[in-house]
């Protein structure tokens, strides 16, 4: 519902555009597959999974993307490199768009960066993430890879809050020798996607909403978040029925988009059924709100497709 004075850059990853002024582009929605505890995964160490079920999930996300106009990204989580290789084979068969490579294990992330480069997918891959946890070996692997898109995780446990998150991006604050933005540039990352690193509610989850506005104003880069993590980590909500949990997930997603979010790491890809409509609704309302501020959504925007 506002316009930034600073220029807002738009990055293009394999044809999917992130960023711009609020209301200009549709929100990019990234659904996670093969995440920890995903029912379709039979063995997360070696990457055995129900191929047909996975294919249905990816197809459903693509269908909803086509229907609403919100671009989709496949967020691939792997516990090990062996598992990642199987997941990448699968993605190659069923998905032609950009994908995120992610793991809790830095060695798995680093090897994934090398693998996608060797196979010629460097321009489709988004590295998740460059952060405080990025060590020398991982940084070297990213630098030597052909990946030029990455999520920068601005989580700063040494200085929680909006200011601390900005500091770790710009200067490294009290915990890093240099900021994540200059570090990413040094590693050859061209397309920078900013993520505040959403913590549980009670620990400061709400700060990610203000962070996205402030970060766009200060940096002019695309900003998003995994606001879903705040919802899923709320013990009170976990005891409620599934319909209530979905409503809260959709509400959190819409709140992030109202706070200038350009992309959403919306959690389990199964959630696409309600996240895409919620995001499209938020995109339409935001685009209508800024219509008088000389911001014009493109042809594929939900405003021009669904109403």
């Amino acid at each position: 519902m506002f316009r930034f004075k600073n220029r807002q850059s738009i990055v293009n990853v394999a044809g999917v555009k992130f960023g711009g002024q609020p209301g200009e582009l549709a929100t990019v929605l990234c659904g996670t597959i093969f995440y920890q505890g995903h029912r379709i995964v039979e063995n997360e160490e070696i990457g055995l999974f129900d191929h047909a079920a996975a294919e249905r999930l990816v197809a459903r996300q693509a269908e909803l993307s086509e229907d609403t106009g919100c671009p989709a990204v496949l967020h691939i989580y792997a516990r090990t490199h062996q598992a990642f290789l199987r997941y990448l084979d699968f993605a190659e068969e069923v998905w032609g768009g950009p994908f995120i490579i992610d793991s809790a294990d830095s060695d798995t992330r680093a090897r994934a960066a090398s693998t996608v480069s060797e196979l010629g997918y460097g321009d489709r891959a988004i590295y998740n993430s460059i952060s405080l946890a990025t060590g020398e070996a991982e940084a070297q692997a990213v630098s030597e890879s052909e990946i030029d898109s990455a999520i920068l995780l601005a989580y700063n446990p040494g200085e929680p809050g909006v200011e601390g998150a900005l500091r770790i991006l710009e200067t490294g604050g009290s915990v890093l020798e240099k900021g994540l933005i200059p570090l990413a540039r040094e590693l050859g990352i061209v397309n920078l996607l900013i993520d505040p690193g959403v913590v549980p509610m009670g620990s400061g989850a709400g700060a990610s909403l203000r962070f996205s506005v402030v970060a766009k104003a200060r940096l002019g880069l695309p900003v998003g978040s995994g606001i879903h993590n705040a919802v899923s980590a709320w013990p009170w909500l976990c005891k409620k029925e599934i319909g209530i949990r979905k409503c809260c997930d959709a509400a959190a997603a819409a709140m992030q988009l109202l706070s200038a979010g350009d992309y959403l790491l919306y959690g389990p890809i199964e959630n696409s059924d309600f996240i895409f409509p919620a995001a499209a609704l938020a995109d339409i309302l935001v685009a209508e709100a800024v219509r008088d501020l000389d911001i014009h959504p493109g042809e594929g925007h939900p405003l021009n497709r669904l109403v």
């Binding site: 316009r3 930034f4 405080l132 446990p157 040494g158 620990s203 203000r210």
Partner: protein, 210 residues
């Protein structure tokens, strides 16, 4: 900030535990706490729970920062707890079990980084140094990382309960630090709503020009 209570006859202050999380409370007068790391052993066992739950608290710990903080806060607020059994499988990449052991052995540095942890982002941000020192003094860690046999864990709980005597100090209550109030100054507007209305995003204040 610390609140040293004056009359904790039970060894803890109701309601206990003070910090919410994904855990089960057993017998708060027991001398043992159980962390099951990434294994949802007791929390989701439901009717499969062993007939005797002898520990004060059972819970998972999946993260090397906020999860570890919650364990420390809940353990030191109950002086009956003298042993922390670390069981279950590690959360890959995060390594909260390794981090708990490192915190207990080495403490934190000036930035809050847990010295010697191999976890991804091992930082303490909500606990004061006194709370860490109290954790180091009050409890002994029993390293059973990898153990998922609930009956074996219960046997360990019974064994260490027999050894436990209440810690001879008041419960240590970790109180959330209040944010320091800062004067918010209006700067140059960098976010525009139109109609001469602008917002300064550092101050998060809306104003009208002219």
């Amino acid at each position: 900030m610390t609140q040293e209570g004056s009359n904790f006859k039970r060894g803890y202050e109701d309601p206990w535990p003070p910090v919410r999380g994904d855990y089960l409370v057993g017998n708060p007068n027991a001398g043992v706490a159980v962390a099951t790391l990434a294994s949802p052993l007791f929390v989701r066992a439901g009717s499969d729970l062993p007939p005797y739950m002898g520990a004060a608290i059972y819970g998972q710990c999946k993260t090397e920062n906020l999860g570890v903080e919650k364990i420390v806060a809940n353990v030191i607020s109950n002086i009956n707890i003298r042993y922390l059994i670390i069981s279950g499988v590690e959360s890959k990449g995060h390594l909260p079990g390794n981090t708990l052991l490192a915190l207990h052995r080495n403490g934190i540095d000036e930035q809050g980084r847990i010295i010697g942890s191999k976890g991804a982002i091992p930082f303490i941000q909500n606990l004061q140094p006194d709370a860490i020192r109290r954790f180091q003094r009050q409890v002994e860690l029993i390293d059973c990382i990898g153990l998922e046999d609930m009956e074996e864990i219960e046997r360990l709980v019974s064994r260490y309960n027999l050894l436990a005597e209440p810690y001879p100090e008041e419960p240590f209550l970790v109180v959330r630090r209040k944010a320091v109030l800062q004067e918010i100054l209006m700067g140059e507007g960098d976010l525009f709503f139109g109609a001469n209305v602008f917002m300064d995003t550092r101050a998060w204040q809306i104003a009208i020009t002219g």
